[in-house]
Assembly symmetry: C2
Homo-oligomer: 142 residues x 2
């Protein structure tokens, strides 16, 4: 167990974050990590606590549909450290708005799906093996 000297192995980070070791290395190559990962003896990666925090954030951003190039951009702003805080904020705000929109749309679609389920369930209830439709589903034209 390489807890040698503060710093987690790639395998441990994979466990913690739910990403594969492949993906972790891939993200690093792609420049989505905010800071370079420290290396231990033999050139092995040693992830700091803040590395792991950042990766968790990346997982969140990915889960909300932010593409890797955007995350890389974010990471670059952090790396440069100065001058572009406004741009960074703009990037995050834009993404926040997109996520909000996404939630709205999903909620709407959820309603539609739920109604569809209701329609099918009803149809199935009265007359099992009853009136079958080969054409598209019972649209709620009523």
């Amino acid at each position: 167990m390489p807890e040698t000297n503060r710093g987690l192995s790639i395998g441990q980070v994979a466990e913690l974050t739910g990403l594969s070791v492949h993906t972790l290395r891939f993200y690093e190559r792609e420049g989505v990590l905010a800071a370079p990962v420290r290396r231990g003896p033999g050139g092995r990666r040693l992830y700091s606590k803040s590395d792991v925090e950042w990766i968790h954030l990346c997982v969140n951003l990915r889960a909300t549909g932010m593409p890797l190039p955007a995350i890389r951009q974010y990471a670059e702003f952090i790396r440069q450290g100065t001058g572009d805080e406004e741009q960074l904020l703009a990037l995050l705000r834009q993404h926040r708005d997109q996520v909000a929109t996404q939630i709205e749309q999903l909620t709407e679609s959820l309603g539609l799906i739920t109604r569809k389920i209701g329609a099918y369930a009803e149809q199935l209830a009265r007359g099992a093996g009853g009136p079958v439709r080969c054409t598209p589903p019972p649209a709620e034209r009523r």
Copy 2:
């Protein structure tokens, strides 16, 4: 304008649904359409109103992350028409649950992003060009 005889052209359907004509043909090949599309003279597609409704539903399902194979499965249940209504309902219910979960997770991430924005904004407000951090962002450890 090929409104010859009831039935929309592929171009019109593309406009209506927001899909490209390429995608419409692709979906058809992939078997995600519930019913075969009628053809006009010269072999051109003529979409019925219910075709268009179904496609709209497909757009919704895709937008909520249902993969094409699942939609094809749905379409197959519809095409067969009988016996598998329960399976169809199961498929839809499962997807509904997934969408609900998705919304929950997005909402959670939205909160996180919003907090992050707050933190950056604050940092930026007091001391513009002030304390710059190259390490990952100010975690809300408070």
